[in-house]
Symmetry: C2
Subunit: 149 residues, 2 copies
DNA sequence: TCAATGTATTTGTATATGCAATATAATCGT
DNA sequence: ACGATTATATTGCATATACAAATACATTGA
């Protein structure tokens, strides 16, 4: 019985995933808040930025960069295609799925969003502190592009 | 133009939310992996643990603890009610929604899960390092129970 | 060439999440 | 006691996420 209380207390107080998920929700709220006037969610901004920076890029490679399942990308990117922020480009090399690149409209949107993103970034930095920000960048930086799972 | 590239590069390389979300996906994958034999997801474990530790507790108070929207809790907890891991308790004080508590079955499940949770916890600790784990606990620890948003 | 294998995408299904609006219950002011 | 306000929960809607299975294209080996 004391054993029972023990493990549950451990899971309640020390679970790294629980903390990561709280952090994720709080931060997502901050960025979504600042992005609301622009009609896109934080997740979509992250995707748009990647496509703008390293595109043309296939879905599978976005997934490897950001640890996202291909099926998730099919659906998330569909909204962005419909909104005209990104487009498929014909490369004539592989018929299994065309690479994606940012559109002029998408690039304009990114530039308009710049200050709002900065505001969210500053709010987050104030919340988690400089050491928190540094470590978060380092931690996930090690994961980006690494093996899935 | 150089200005354009500048802000996009910043958003790609320094976005704290982007990193938090990658971290969240990777860690969720680790815990889900270890929990798969038990038929519940990591999110459900986090909820079950909270209910077991501080229940009976109302949905609204779970939300305040974990920064979760009430509507999210309505739906996530419904699955757990159906599975018999938690139950509503009549307290006769407030008709707007009964507090939730863990069932004997839910408590058994938690105890069975203990070693798997520990394995996921260890895998995570190895991945993010001791300083990463410490900071993650501290960071989100400051958020738990704090104001929403 | 063509069958076998491998890779990229999509679809089906289930859970996770938040906002806006609604419903319902409690409380407060008079 | 009653109307107004507040608090809690739910529903409708949209997006986010992953696994399993199906699909489509590519590559390889005989």
């Amino acid at each position: 019985m004391t054993q029972d209380k023990g493990i549950i207390d451990h899971m309640a107080c020390e679970c790294l995933l629980g903390r990561a998920r709280v952090l994720n929700r709080v931060l997502t709220g901050i960025y979504d808040d600042e992005l609301r006037p622009f009609g896109l969610k934080a997740t979509q901004l992250n995707l748009l930025v990647v496509v703008a920076k390293v595109g043309p890029i296939r879905r599978i490679d976005i997934g490897k960069l950001l640890h996202l399942d291909p099926s998730t990308l099919t659906r998330n990117l569909k909204v962005m295609l419909i909104n005209g922020w990104i487009q498929e480009v014909a490369d004539g090399e592989d018929g299994r799925g065309l690479p994606l690149q940012v559109t002029a409209q998408g690039r304009d949107l990114l530039n308009q969003i710049g200050p709002a993103w900065r505001k969210a970034q500053d709010r987050t930095q104030n919340l988690i502190g400089e050491d928190g920000a540094t470590l978060l960048l380092k931690l996930a930086g090690n994961m980006i592009g690494g093996p899935r799972g």
